[in-house]
Symmetry: C2
Subunit: 222 residues, 2 copies
Amino acid sequence: MRKALLSTARERDPDARKERIVNAAGEVFAKTGFAEGSVREISRQAHVNVASINYYFGSKEGLYREVLLTAHRQLLDQEPPPSPAADPELALREWIEFCLRFVLLKRSAHPVLGRLMAHEMRQPTAALAELVKLVIKPIFSNLVGIVNAVTNGTLDKPAREMSAHQIVAMCVHFDHSREVIGRLGFAVPEAEVGIQRLADSITNMALRGLKLPTPKKTRSTK
Amino acid sequence: MRKALLSTARERDPDARKERIVNAAGEVFAKTGFAEGSVREISRQAHVNVASINYYFGSKEGLYREVLLTAHRQLLDQEPPPSPAADPELALREWIEFCLRFVLLKRSAHPVLGRLMAHEMRQPTAALAELVKLVIKPIFSNLVGIVNAVTNGTLDKPAREMSAHQIVAMCVHFDHSREVIGRLGFAVPEAEVGIQRLADSITNMALRGLKLPTPKKTRSTK
DNA sequence: ATTGTAATCAAACAGCCGTTTATAAACGGC
DNA sequence: GCCGTTTATAAACGGCTGTTTGATTACAAT
């Protein structure tokens, strides 16, 4: 140890430094979104000089891109999608449970991602297309396949996808609109038991809705 | 030089002025949200001095609150909720059609509101609680009542509300997540015919899901 | 005609923003 | 020891932010 720990010794560890920046950026961006999060706040929180951010990531936007991708990589590692079950109905139930747990628990598991996704949804950046292609599309295709199995192939592609989107809707809504749902007096489940109950209700509605083809009972006129 | 009618004669009409400010603020806030929208941009777009905004609305946030409430008032005027039908199933179908049309057509009818609501969902301000209470809650209660009628009162309050939220989910999802849904290859309907088809599908799933009480068929263990 | 008050404005204020620059320290290779 | 390179920093840059100020205008009441 030639350089005995000075009080303000320069720490020379680019990787640890970059990681600290990315973590701090995740928290800051998650709190306020891309535009409102400031690099100074990030640098403060990461105990790093402001210039380091541009030095390592080129720009604020470069840092954001890094944060978004890193967050997804971490999340997928700790919350893998379900392996498809043989029984279609069971597969559907498990998919719904997975999706629900994903959207309702991901906040505590990884508080950054949920909000980042929400921001992407409102002001899509180039990263969203990549995200959909790499992460969301495979999982959604999985669901479409299950829907096809449950309905014995009686639905055409648009109808299958529409139904699948409806199922996704019932899962993500409770995360997406929790601010409104909570204010409407309904407690969005945050524990396993509540999520199971919600999964039951959604699975029930999805299964019944899929079981028989649409009876084409459009009302004539008002 | 008493400067009689100068080219930039002062226009003395506070009401028209305030309205111009609110309109401009709506467009600006809708484009970029509250924090990113600047009062200078608004003042420029409203052909008004910057100071006028604080003079009339106290602060940027005061102006935002005014915009949000005004937008809702206007929208409700031109898109009234359905009068409850005698037949519960018909009432449900009409409610879903109303809700779908509301979320899918409101952008062209009033492009400001959708984005404002989205921003509120992300970073709720004090205005959201008021909004829920005055606008959303009555409409939602309407739906809960319909759900109760369809199920012949066999569901308790939490179950009724949960089902109602699921139905709302299927309607709003196609607006909320349209960026992702579009990128998944599904065309979110924007015309009347597509909305009708979607309303059919949602109504079908909702009705079948509600018709019989949950069979309590929770799977034992994995 | 004068006064009082509300409305409007240009300009200034204080502060934060992302980025750049010049400088300095720590390192590996010679 | 000297070198070029990488890493880290403080300070400055130019620009934008919401808000305030103080002067000026218009109009209604006196």
